[in-house]
Amino acid sequence: MVGQAGPYVAAAYGVFIGLVAVYVAIIVARLSRTARRLQDLNDERRA
């Protein structure tokens, strides 16, 4: 359907999806680190 333009069109949409995926991965990693530290803090308080 997209012929010779295929790689360009795929690259453009890939840029968007890639940026979003990397961004989500970074934020989720940060959130899980925070959750882990919160858990440690809770355990510390309970001890």
Partner: protein
Amino acid sequence: MRARRLSILALTASLAFATALGLVFFYAPVDADQGPVQKIFYIHVPMAIVALSGFVVAGAMGIAYLRTGDRRWDVRSYVLIHLSIIFGVGVLLTGSIWARASWGHWWVWDEPTLVSFLIVFLLFCTYQPLRFAIEDGERQARYAAVFSILAGAFVPLNFIAVRLAQAYTHPRVLGATGGSLPGSMRLTFLVSLGAVTMVFVTLLRLELTAKRAAARLRRLERSRDDAPVPARPVAALP
């Protein structure tokens, strides 16, 4: 409750984006002039609109911070600019890909649309170094708010400058009267714009949630460090 709302938002944004992709590749006709490469338009232009709107809204949040002194507005402004810069990277990359496919060049310096967007992008790239060069939290937030207002006001100027520019080598499909897009292309464009906006809002909420959680953790750690150490029973010597 907040996590549930975020999940629903993420799911809706994913569905909207999938619908937009379906329309782009299976519904919108192939452009008679540019051919299939014009499909890049449906991701490039919505990203540009959302990124530029993000910069303007960040300025409005800066005004709200200066009026109220509420740090939540400062955080929102910061996250909006941060996300808009990331979308700006996407705009520059997809624009370059489109330029290469259409004109045979990755970048064209005499094209006002590209250069003016680059200027706005670079202007906002100075936000973070400027912000984090100031150590005092209150001053940092105040200066950042002033920056976001001034730079946010510059964005409409970029738009007006491009509209007034004479060298129309850039594809011009959206005019003041609704443009020259046929109905099916316009519908696809509007759905794409809605989908990209929803993705942006979802990411914004996600980062704000992460920031809120990190702030809560810092408060808890501070309260733990400030709390008086309870007297421990002295262990009896053997």
